[in-house]
């Protein structure tokens, strides 16, 4: 079969699905959906369909983004758009199926929105939902829509037309198109993609490597996982295009072992590509040949760094190397090697297919296109989003995210992972693009966005990141290996109430040295979390040092739990649950906590019924 025939068959199959006479239920079955219990829901649907003799087609899809509403399902009835429902449980599903599939009531009260052509009375379009309304979905266009295990679904929706078009262009023309698009690396550093490619393209070599960096080590970020789980072919097509442009004949996907579902999806997708001659020799009948292998990471954050990743691919300890030589000239086995992030690659097919100029129409002056973010932390609507670069933080956190969870005061947003910083509430109007985030002493990074509210302690956050970095430092350079440890010790000291004002200066001077004298990006950015929190939240550090208090009530050594005599109803729940036996009291009488036994686990605070709210946290009692 040639590609035109493959495509015709795929489109027919897709039409058959979306206009299916039999009802179709799409299940959000990415990792989050599974964690939230979609498999139990699917099981229940199978059972009910037998009981009620309903004929139902079940299709697993990836994630459309509003993870906080998981498990998500979409029910599609012949002639209607599909209707999306959130927080579905096995218990709820039966009634819903009866109501909609048998009695024709789509339950607008439960529906989140419709997806696809057409309307249903009383149900808005899903893209009117506040979480989706402000988004522009280019990379994520198929996520949550198609079955990621069906290459035909991808092909029916313009898949592999990008590489088809690229193969009709010269490699230099492809690089030019990417240049026009203005896309910069989505993996963190924001280096123009075309520039790296051109260097590699211009090197003569029989073997060249293109590696997809799917290490996604930034804790709190899952954009790459979601894309690989929801639309693996988009990334694989990007690899083909990149390989053709630079002249690579070998490809690797370096993916962290913590993502078993994404690995499974990739393996499956790669075998499907082979059967369609989209991989291997003479791809789509051209002179271009390329193969892709999957390499699983083994748990080392520093292996996201290019030279460390290359060492790891070659089976060595993942230690960074000084440059030059740059990987584009000498990388894996000494051959020219380009490393691109999952999202960068995932965008390429659309860029080539629709043109660089079209893509450059999105975004801001120096930051073109869209970017995905994982919106998490203390925010109401958590999930995966994609927005045009230049969108203000305010839109992201308040319009898309719905503000902080529990309506606590918004304090800051952390971007850029361990290499980034905390942007305070005052800067909420800041547009999110490479330059603006830098000007606010943070970075875009790979797209983790962690919302912090007044209950988050910035000293704790800084020490959290530093302890992460300290544990992940490969140990090659002493400023990174030892310097981060010394900084961490100082932060621990401050957190325990033993800090002195001179410690702040020490932190700053250590930070400067570590940034200057470290070899790789990990060390060079290690102190950023401390520097940015010191810049914007110095008074909070001072509260820990001078008043021995943690205003956010987080640092264990500076807080204690007490029970309010007035509020305690003596229900005894906390007494039962306290693992330390620290709570005493008679039924219906105010209880008390024995401070010397309390291990500050916080259980009593969590289990005390909200209507009493009798357990209190206190700080500032040490001075």
């Amino acid at each position: 079969m040639d590609f035109a025939e493959i495509r015709k068959k795929a489109i027919a199959g897709w039409k058959d699905l979306v206009s299916s006479k039999t009802p179709v239920i799409y299940l959000g079955a990415a990792t989050c959906g599974r964690a939230a219990g979609i498999e139990a829901v699917a099981e229940e649907i199978r059972k009910i369909s037998k009981e009620l003799s309903l004929n139902i087609r079940l299709v697993e899809v990836g994630c459309i983004g509003p993870c906080y509403l998981e498990p998500l399902i979409y029910i599609q009835k012949n002639g209607y758009p599909s209707v999306c429902y959130g927080k579905i449980t096995p218990r709820k599903i039966k009634k819903l199926l009866e109501d909609y599939l048998i009695n024709n009531d789509p339950r607008p009260d439960l529906a989140l929105g419709t997806l696809g052509d057409g309307q249903i009375n009383g149900i808005p379009g899903l893209f009117e939902h506040p979480m989706l309304k402000y988004q522009t979905r280019l990379v994520l266009r198929n996520c949550g829509i198609i079955d990621p295990e069906q290459i035909d679904h991808y092909i029916a929706r313009y898949g592999y037309l990008g590489i088809k078009k690229a193969l009709g262009m010269s490699p230099s023309e492809v690089i030019d198109e990417v240049k026009t698009s203005g896309i910069r690396g989505r993996g963190g550093a924001g280096f123009p993609t075309w520039k790296k490619w051109e260097i590699c393209h211009n090197v003569q070599s029989d073997d060249k490597y293109l590696i997809c960096n799917a290490d996604e080590g930034d804790p709190g970020a899952f954009m790459n996982r979601s894309l690989l789980e929801g639309d693996p072919h988009a990334v694989l097509e990007g690899l083909l295009i990149g390989a053709y442009a630079i002249g690579a004949n070998h490809g690797y996907i370096y993916i962290r072992a913590e993502y078993p579902l994404a690995i499974k999806r990739l393996e499956h997708a790669i075998s499907q590509m082979k059967s369609y001659n989209l991989l291997g020799n003479n791809i789509l009948g051209s002179d271009f040949s390329f193969d892709i292998k999957i390499k699983k990471g083994a748990g080392a954050f520093v292996c996201g760094e290019e030279t460390a990743l290359i060492a790891s691919v070659m089976g060595k300890r993942g230690m960074p190397m000084p440059r030059p030589p740059f990987p584009a000239i000498s990388g894996v086995w000494g051959k020219p090697t380009i490393i691109n992030n999952v999202e960068t690659l995932g965008t390429l097919a659309t860029i080539i297919r629709r043109g660089g100029e079209w893509f450059a129409g999105f975004g801001s002056k120096f930051s073109k296109g869209t970017k995905t973010f994982s919106l998490v932390g203390k925010v109401k609507r958590t999930g995966l989003i994609e927005i045009p670069l230049g969108t203000p933080l305010k839109t992201i956190i308040f319009d898309i995210g719905g503000g902080t969870s529990g309506d606590k005061k918004f304090k800051a947003v952390q971007t850029g992972g361990p290499s980034g910083g905390c942007i305070p509430a005052e800067l909420i109007s800041l547009p999110v693009d490479y330059e603006s985030l830098m000007s606010a002493y943070s970075i875009m990074g790979s797209g983790g966005m962690i919302v912090l509210d007044e209950d988050t302690c910035v000293v704790d956050i800084a020490s959290y990141f530093l302890s992460f970095i300290q544990a992940e430092s490969c140990g090659k350079c002493s400023p990174c290996r030892i310097g981060t440890k010394v900084m961490l010790d100082i932060l621990e000291k401050i957190k325990s109430g033993k800090g002195e004002m001179a410690d702040i200066d020490k932190l700053i001077s250590l930070a400067k040295t570590i940034k200057k004298a470290s070899l790789c990006g990990l060390g060079q950015t290690a102190p950023n979390s401390v520097l940015s929190t010191l810049r914007y939240f110095r008074s909070e550090y001072e509260a820990h040092i001078i008043d021995k208090s943690c205003p956010a009530l987080v640092c264990k050594d500076l807080i204690k739990y007490t029970i309010s005599k007035e509020k305690c109803a003596g229900c005894g729940i906390c007494r039962e649950k306290c693992p330390a036996g620290a709570i005493t009291g008679k039924k219906k009488k105010a209880h008390i906590i024995n401070e010397s036994l309390c291990v500050k686990c916080g259980i009593c605070y969590q289990v005390c019924p909200a209507k009493y709210g009798a357990v209190e946290k206190k700080t500032g009692f040490l001075t």
Binding site: P219, S226, T382, V599
Partner: protein
């Protein structure tokens, strides 16, 4: 052990730099990297044992003692951290009476801390035997673990 290792190595024979996937396959099959396994790999790949340990110990994935029947992982990624992951770890340590990296004396449980399972939107999470439990609270930890006992 020698034969097990031979079989594991076979598919990687022609590929240079395959030590890490080989170690991963060994751990998958036998649960951990034993001294015997390292000797056998060394023999097959014609490398020194030191070299193998050098690579293996760089990566946190590899274990050198037999893990318990159930693996409990508490996520301490950023999203889980700000939503109380630390308290979950404290609680799990108390319930199992072990620290991360350890196994209970009856070999029932091993405990590990991990930095992000990619399920951050449902933070905090803990993972027991590869099943992810979302939105965990401190009181829930006990229920999740006691189900396994």
């Amino acid at each position: 052990m020698k034969n097990t290792i031979k079989n594991i190595i076979k598919p990687y024979q022609d590929e240079k730099g395959s030590l890490i996937p080989i170690l991963q396959a060994v751990q998958e099959k036998t649960g951990f990297i034993s001294e015997d396994a390292v000797s056998a790999i060394a023999l097959e790949l014609k490398m020194s044992e030191h070299e193998i340990y050098g690579v293996a110990t760089f990566y946190t994935q590899f274990r050198y003692t037999k893990p318990g029947d159930h693996m409990v992982k508490v996520c301490l990624g950023t999203a889980c951290h700000v939503r109380g992951g630390e308290q979950l770890l404290d609680r799990t340590e108390t319930i199992l009476n072990i620290k991360p990296g350890q196994t209970t004396p009856d070999s029932a449980f091993s405990l590990e801390r991990v930095a992000c399972m990619g399920c951050c939107a449902l933070a905090p999470v803990i993972v027991v035997d590869n099943k992810i439990y979302p939105n965990v609270t401190v009181p829930k930890v006990e229920k999740i673990i006691s189900k396994k006992e």
